[in-house]
């Protein structure tokens, strides 16, 4: 059970300046690739709009304007290629438009603010990590030294290494990230779920009365891990929580804690919910006493 519920994504812990560790989920390679693909599309759109705009404007005004237009086009193209990501990350606090859509962002590995220096460092390497591989893929034949098959192979190997670099390290960092000391994490989403053990809910509904009472001995069987697995089950949306599952869990619990054998429970959900509340009560009490029971007693 624990394997199925373990978080699928790798996490990283940053220490805030208050010395409180905060956990972030690292963005997956696929998400990042998606964000890059989107950013490249946006960039292409900006490029096309800019080039069309400038050449359109300069065509309106005679030959001098046309001559002036060309440097503007060249400079603009350079600026868009090299500064799109930098400006995007600086303005969006670590989120280019593509990253924003994919729900990821750049953070500093040391927990400090994401300063301009970091953004520059992680993006100046893109020329080499992103545009060069793209060029080789799209127009490898046009690059003269690549006509030799061996050089070509070496080049592909090197570029493959650079591109897939994030797959081979714990922090999923690309070279630019290593250089700048940054990480790409999932934008944290916070939803406050109702407390399952709250005796009175916030909107003033009557407290659910406990139908089942447990003895201390019964509550000393399970540990924190089992409590939290139970919490996950109880928090499932109703359509994923069929009666048969709850009943089988309830029966397992009953057997384990030596609950008096008898007829099938009329309401396994109520039983589990009461058990959860009582168990959490017990374990938190133990926790305050300095006894942390992580797992059940075998």
């Amino acid at each position: 059970m624990s394997a199925a519920h373990a978080p699928l994504s790798a996490t990283v812990t940053l220490l805030t300046p208050e010395q409180v560790p905060i956990r972030f989920e690292l963005a997956s390679f696929g998400t990042r690739a998606g964000a890059i693909a989107m950013d490249l599309m946006f960039m292409a759109a900006v490029l096309v709009a800019y080039v069309l705009g400038v050449s359109g404007l300069s065509d309106l005004g005679g030959s001098t304007a046309r001559d002036l237009g060309r440097p503007f086009v060249l400079l603009g193209v350079f600026a868009i290629f090299n500064f799109y990501f930098i400006v995007g990350e600086l303005r969006g606090q670590g989120r280019t438009p593509g990253k924003r859509i994919m729900g990821i962002r750049v953070v500093a590995r040391d927990g400090g603010p994401l300063t301009a220096g970091l953004v520059f460092a992680r993006n100046l390497t893109r020329d080499f990590e992103l545009y060069l591989p793209l060029q080789v893929l799209l127009a490898g034949d046009a690059i003269a030294p690549l006509r030799s098959p061996w050089l070509r192979l070496a080049c592909f190997a090197w570029l493959g290494f650079v591109c897939l670099f994030p797959l081979f390290n714990r922090r999923r960092a690309r070279l630019g990230d290593l250089l700048a000391g940054t990480l790409v994490v999932n934008q944290p989403v916070a939803t406050l779920l109702p407390d399952l053990a709250a005796t009175a809910s916030a909107d003033g509904e009557p407290p659910p009365s406990a139908q089942y009472a447990f003895t201390q001995a019964q509550l000393d069987v399970y540990g924190i891990h089992e409590l939290q697995v139970l919490e996950q089950v109880l928090r499932r949306p109703p359509e994923q929580r069929d009666d048969a599952l709850l009943r089988s869990i309830a029966d397992k619990v009953r057997k384990k804690i030596a609950w008096p054998k008898g007829d099938p429970l009329p309401d396994p959900e109520a039983f589990l919910s009461d058990f959860y509340t009582a168990q959490r009560h017990r374990l938190e009490h133990e926790l305050l006493m300095g006894r942390r029971r992580a797992k059940k007693r075998e």
Partner: protein, 340 residues
């Protein structure tokens, strides 16, 4: 059997949550607004409240981790604090002011700190020039080895005095120059960035790049020397060349800086050291791009407009003095101040 355990009084973790939930919700609302529309969205009193609420939430998180077994709650607080932390510790300096700081303080200071490496890059570059020049003087056919045909633009060991002279004193109409200048800028800046990035391979390729650059220049110098145009070539090259070569050296130094961090990590781990060096090197490379831009402007507009050798030399020395003052005086002073 003991008596049934009582849970008619509220759990501590439940009471804890009830007490603070309103503050968390308030913080969540503020953070969400900043995430959507930026920090200017908040009123003054809300802005003042943000760090207060953030600290509250962070302390709640610490407490919750210690006393609450409600995983939903801890996960929520974790995410809330993460979001609030990203908002609270986002750099606030407006882009233009930050840019000003960069060019008046951090960039010259970083270059001053790296002065030895810049010098090293310059020495390697000059060694390349000397090698290229001597070898081409020795055997003019080597010119083709050192210089790419496209770059040479029809010039070569067989060019006559007049042909070479024509290029040096050619006053094209201004129209094409702009395009030429921006092409040069993009081209050179790209090479500069390359020099910075290849520093990742222990810095050796960065120095190699310097040397090869030098070889090309040396070969050019040689074919002009053979036609008694050495001085004229320097006058043609140096007005923008001082800036451009300096920028090339800065990129080379940045690359070597990264390589050095990898080879000789000293007290820190390699990764930490790479990060430290990488940041500084990236800033130096970014500043060098600005230098390339200035060089391209000088090259595109100034060179073709001014034909006099003495004026060309005067401008060359002026730019050299300006850069020396910028990095030597401003940079040195800024390097002594604590960095922001």
């Amino acid at each position: 059997m003991t008596a049934p355990s009582t849970h008619h009084f509220a759990l501590k973790s439940v009471a804890f949550r009830l007490e603070r939930e309103a503050h968390w919700r308030e913080l969540e609302g503020l953070v969400e607004r900043v995430e959507r529309r930026g920090v200017r969205e908040l009123a003054t009193d809300e802005l003042a409240r943000l760090p207060e609420l953030y600290r509250g939430a962070v302390s709640s998180l610490s407490v919750a981790r210690a006393i609450s077994l409600d995983q939903g709650l801890v996960t929520y607080l974790d995410a809330l604090c993460a979001r609030a932390y990203l908002v609270v510790y986002a750099p606030r300096r407006p882009a233009l002011l930050a840019l000003g700081d960069f060019f008046t303080q951090s960039f010259p200071a970083l270059v001053w700190d790296l002065r030895r490496l810049v010098l090293l890059a310059a020495v390697v570059l000059l060694a390349g020039v000397a090698t290229g020049a001597l070898m081409t003087l020795d055997d003019a056919s080597r010119f083709g080895t050192f210089v790419d045909a496209g770059y040479a633009q029809e010039r070569g060991p067989d060019s006559t005095h007049d042909e070479l002279r024509a290029v040096l004193y050619d006053s094209d109409e201004v129209s094409a120059l702009g395009a030429f200048a921006s092409y040069l800028f993009a081209h050179n800046a790209k090479i500069g960035l390359m020099a910075f990035v290849v520093g990742l391979a222990a810095g050796v390729p960065a120095l190699l790049l310097m040397f090869i650059n030098g070889l090309t220049m040396g070969a050019f110098l040689a074919i002009h020397l053979r036609r008694d145009l050495g001085l004229d070539l320097l006058a043609w090259l140096l007005p923008h060349g001082t800036t451009e070569l300096l920028a090339v050296c800065l990129c080379g130094a940045a690359g070597v800086h990264i390589g050095r961090a990898l080879l000789f990590p000293g007290r820190h781990t390699r990764l930490d050291n790479l990060t430290r060096a990488g940041r500084d090197a990236a800033l130096v490379a970014a500043g060098a791009i600005a230098l390339f831009f200035i060089a391209a402007l000088l090259e595109g507009f100034f060179r073709q407009l001014v034909q006099s050798v003495s004026v060309r030399f005067a401008v060359a020395s002026l730019t050299a003095v300006a850069w020396l003052a910028y990095f030597g005086v401003l940079g040195r002073r800024a390097s002594r101040r604590p960095r922001v």
